[in-house]
Subunit: 226 residues, 2 copies
DNA sequence: GCAAACATAATAGTAATACTATCATTTTTA
DNA sequence: TAAAAATGATAGTATTACTATTATGTTTGC
């Protein structure tokens, strides 16, 4: 499993990068160190100039791979969701009971960290932190409709579709499968954020995880009600 | 009711503004037109220079009221949540049944637009659009912990606390009242966004509203289970 | 009615950001 | 080994995100 996932090449939509960062050593260093730099100083303070200095390369070289930092964020987000989709497919494939599939899927998208595996060059636990604090910024823009048309959010949406389908199988009578799926995925990221920064408005802490909250939710909304 | 709420002065935390915008005509114009400008061009493209041009005043005059556009966003967000808290308190006060209180509270924070009232100078339906697309940006920053310590998110958190309290009254046995409250408030904003931009990952449309989804949720998680 | 206090306007200036362009140099590959 | 491609170095531009200074109203208190 580990080696299998280490070799996946995420499917990234045309237009997100100018030159495929996986095609060169420099490209890979840009992605790897870019992720670390965003984690350290935050996406707002992150610039290609600072990244260039960090990896001892020229600002203009970074611009040859990505148009701007927004596209860079779209790239690493697509990478993350691609990896999530892959895990979702693999880890539910062998489960015959659809309730088990749902529990597994919810666990995957709500869990604290990806403990079991790590790619050759991207640190997934750091990437997960960035997704929690910055992923929503990829679509909370004036350009969202254009970029959605260009397919920049395709993989993320496909993750939601897959969970939606499982929800429908578990409870065909439930009226809001898409909203429940998107609520769980987005909500879990939000609960992780609250756990770190606004502890008083979440029930999650050292002993209670966002996963517990959402497993209880689907359990009560779908499974118990059958 | 209308006149009562028209006269509320939101409680804004010290440090969010340099000079109270409610203390002068220029200050009010900055807020009113700033809200409209952010709605038109988006928060990322919004600058104090452009706002100055729009209201025929000097950039430096705007800087006398707000340190930067982030503080401006914090200001209008506090304004919004202050107004929400006020409605929450007033509109649940006369309800004796706690289930009715919960339904009312959920409706308030999930409803499409504030139809019934409007302040003297801020357009609430425009403000609501900004909250949906930009409020999360106020706390998804590296400075969140400092700013939280300074009380910049106090009113928002108080709205969540109030809903949490109602949830606890409705169902004392439920294990995740804080998370459910924050999930509903944040999730409703997200579902509104999806309804507009990512229609395929939400069950909400012309006939189904985020309110329906969340009323069904609390109904199944709390009320039915009693 | 006038001075003091205060608010706003106008202008200028700085450092950083977000790029683009050009040309030289190194590396790859055919 | 020459051509092509990738990278590096340098320079330059427009905009952003401010700060500072000085001038010009405007309000208010006596």
């Amino acid at each position: 499993m580990k080696t299998l996932l280490q070799n996946i090449r995420p499917e990234i939509q045309d237009g997100i990068f100018l030159k495929d960062p996986e095609s060169s050593t420099l490209g890979k260093r840009i992605v790897k160190e870019g992720v670390l730099l965003i984690d350290e100083i935050g996406f707002e303070a992150f610039t290609f100039k600072k990244l260039g200095e960090r990896i001892q390369t020229n600002e203009s070289s970074v611009y040859r791979y990505f148009e701007n930092k927004h596209k860079f964020l779209l790239y690493i987000s697509s990478w993350y969701w691609s990896w999530m989709e892959c895990r979702l497919v693999f880890e539910t494939a062998n489960l015959v009971n659809v309730n088990d599939q749902l529990v597994k899927a919810v666990l995957l998208v709500t869990e604290d960290t990806a403990d079991d595996l790590s790619s050759d060059y991207i640190d997934e636990s750091v990437l997960k932190r960035i997704i929690i604090s910055d992923f929503t910024k990829t679509f909370l823009t004036k350009e969202v409709d254009d970029e959605n048309r260009e397919g920049f959010f395709k993989i993320y949406k496909r993750v939601i579709y897959r969970i939606t389908e499982i929800i429908k199988e578990v409870s065909p009578a439930y009226s809001f499968p898409e909203s429940l799926a998107s609520n769980i995925v987005e909500g879990a990221m939000h609960q992780h954020f609250l756990k770190q920064h606004f502890k008083t408005i979440t029930s999650c802490n050292e002993s209670v995880s966002p996963a517990d909250f959402y497993i209880n939710m689907v359990n009560n909304l779908l499974i118990k009600s059958i």
